[in-house]
Symmetry: C2
DNA sequence: CATCTATGTATACGCTGTCAACATTACTGT
DNA sequence: ACAGTAATGTTGACAGCGTATACATAGATG
């Protein structure tokens, strides 16, 4: 139960320490350059110690991606809660929160969606169910918006997919560096994602 | 000038062969598991031969991403050309082509957008200018659609960004496996991307 | 206190990207 | 035609990587 590190043979809370340190490392070097051995060194343990807590490097990455999806669910839900009863505003703020989170954590976002995780090897249920949680919030939001007559009476899943795609695409373009100069700063991003989502709501065609 | 391989000390066209073989390898194993040494073996040369044609592993990946952006530009432009004079249809077909290409080449798409390429080390102009070409086509399309009164009179760049984000997001969700079961098959994808883009045009709100 | 299990270490293996030194071929100018 | 040089390929070496195996230590349980 000794939580101080460096003094005892047993670390006390390696599992948590590893995840925290890994997130830090990935933030520094990107998910591509991240290595288990450097992580172990940073955590002050031997390079095979992580294997007592994670079957694989892949398993560690999955764990980190999970935390990413959890905070994604939290943030978007919080954003929606702040505008309860105003589905239109809720949708916009959810999207803004999504994009802002991606901008704050580009490397983790890439880890979550970029193909660094080997889906064949991972239990996959965990990750998918976490991602589903985030998506489900969106579905609920749209469903209630439909019932109050704000959103069109299209298939809910389709509406949700459209909004998700829009926001996700913007987030990925930003974190991928494709929008350099257009959307670097925090407030630019806030503005941009709100505008883009307004377009989705109002439509692009003339009337 | 001898183009037959395997008989001469000099290969004749290693550069091209390497790129072709690399694309095949990445298709098989994903961009994450791709290795230079395996590539060299596949091409039938020593493991350092690629360094005569590419400064880095990163440089090779950049070259492959470039070809990806080139075919993306081609395909979307072709799709648009087939419906010249009908901007609405053009926009939809451009998007469908974008998503279909991504579905056909998920690993290359991940390579292009997923953060596998180290932007610090790469000349970056090449890659960005290629990506800009693809984007510019979209901008032109929207501009002409605005002038013929089909699209709303919003800032062109913003409209282009919105459509790009939408389509790109859908493509990334599909290639990332986030839409398993919803959009696996080719015709499902065609249908889905067309529907989603119609939503962007018509808008989500009730009128 | 003895024992079992959880957790950490030491060592070894093959694979990786990359560098330096060398070999072979193609191209160049005289 | 031929010498010299640049382009292209090979060999060997190095450190770093993920991971399997065998061993060490400590906490928990009886």
């Amino acid at each position: 139960m000794n939580k101080r590190s460096g003094e005892t043979y047993h670390h006390g809370n390696l599992h948590g320490t590893l995840i925290a340190a890994a997130i830090e490392l990935i933030r520094d070097k990107g998910p591509n350059a991240f290595s288990l051995r450097e992580l172990a060194k940073k955590a002050g343990v031997s390079h095979t110690a992580p294997y007592r807590h994670f079957k694989d490097k892949n398993a560690l990455l999955v764990a980190i991606a999970e935390t990413g999806f959890k905070t994604l669910t939290e943030r978007t839900r919080n954003a929606a809660m702040q505008f309860d009863g105003d589905p239109k505003r809720q949708l916009i703020e959810t999207g803004v929160a999504y994009v802002e989170l991606a901008l704050d954590n580009p490397e983790i976002t890439q880890l979550m969606f970029g193909g660094f995780i080997d889906m064949e090897k991972c239990p996959k249920e965990n990750l998918d169910s976490e991602a589903d949680n985030a998506f489900q919030g969106l579905v609920n939001l749209i469903e209630s918006g439909k019932q109050s007559g704000v959103f069109r009476n299209e298939e809910t899943e389709l509406l949700a997919l459209a909004t998700w795609s829009m926001v996700h695409g913007l987030a990925m373009l930003i974190t991928g560096g494709q929008l350099c100069g257009i959307a670097d700063e925090q407030d630019q991003v806030r503005n941009l994602s709100a505008k883009v989502e307004s377009l989705l709501m109002e439509g692009i065609l003339t009337r």
